[in-house]
């Protein structure tokens, strides 16, 4: 994940414009825009200070890497939005039938 994505998320969550964040952080609107669109990659401390200027704290966390769901997500990216919805519906219907079969077996 890029630092610019974090800055944009914090800024929009705080309801600030790029110019307002720039004023709080003592920089320019164009500098914020460059960071957010990935034209420049800010250092970690810079991201943390911009997030703080939005009124939030950046909390880093190290977690075990798990690619199981990611592999499904990358397969989904190769489908059209329409196909993703159809696939999702098929999964929901299959799960419903499974629950009904399970309830029938218990009865």
């Amino acid at each position: 994940m890029r630092g610019g994505q974090i800055v944009r998320e914090a800024r929009r969550r705080a309801g600030l414009t790029q110019r307002e964040l720039a004023e709080r952080a003592g920089t320019t609107q164009s500098a914020i825009a460059r960071i957010e669109r990935g034209a420049t990659e800010p250092a970690y401390d810079r991201v943390r200070s911009l997030v703080a200027a939005c009124g939030f704290e950046l909390v880093p966390r190290i977690a075990p890497r798990d690619d199981s769901d990611w592999s499904v997500a990358t397969a989904n990216l190769r489908l059209s939005p329409d196909a993703r919805v159809r696939q999702h519906q098929a999964a929901v219907r299959f799960a419903r039938k499974g629950r009904e079969a399970l309830a029938g077996a218990r009865a």
Binding site: Q5, R12, V72, A73, N76, P81, V85, Q89, V92
Partner: protein
């Protein structure tokens, strides 16, 4: 009463037939962006004008919407119009087409205008739908900070990174 079958395409179609303006957000919107996590409800953010809420009220009537509570999962019938819908900022409903949640200001956002300005306009099963960007869905889930949101955020963030890389380098591998 058995849980009604979740029919999101039909639900979106009914909303379109009634001319309701809204932005789709939440887990189902994330599915449209490629999320691998199954969800069985629709979350939407209605545009807040009384005219639009009147159309929404008519659409809810067509779907036989009831108020969902944990103790009344079949839903409690309720009378509604634009003003009464506007009075409550978050509705958990069950309809004949499945579960439907309405939020005027989802966590981490200021509502329809905030989300609509960057929403993507898609046609899903022949229905035109405004879908919140994945970045906005993540923003809202991060702010909501429920356990179920925290579980899906790592993959959604990776998806966002992959999609943005793809936009910058269209030929790159995901």
């Amino acid at each position: 009463m058995p849980e009604p079958e979740f029919q999101p395409e039909r639900m979106l179609q009914v909303l379109e037939e009634h001319g309701v303006r809204f932005v789709l957000i939440g887990g189902f919107a994330a599915v449209i962006h490629g999320s691998p996590y199954v969800t069985t409800d629709i979350d939407l953010v209605p545009e807040g004008s009384l005219e639009n809420l009147e159309r929404l009220s008519a659409a809810l009537r067509a779907m036989n919407a009831r108020v969902w509570t944990a103790s009344e999962p079949d839903g409690i019938p309720f009378d509604h119009d634009a003003a009464s819908i506007a009075d409550v900022r978050m509705w958990n409903l069950v309809t004949d087409l499945g579960r439907l949640d309405l939020a005027f200001e989802p966590d981490g956002t200021s509502g329809y205008e905030d989300l609509a300005r960057s929403a993507v306009h898609l046609e899903i099963s022949g229905t035109r739908v405004d879908v919140a960007t994945l970045a906005d869905i993540i923003r809202s889930k991060e702010a909501a900070a429920r356990d179920k949101d925290r579980l899906v955020l790592p993959v959604l963030r990776r998806l966002l990174g992959a999609l943005e890389n793809e936009e910058r380098q269209p030929s790159s591998e995901l």
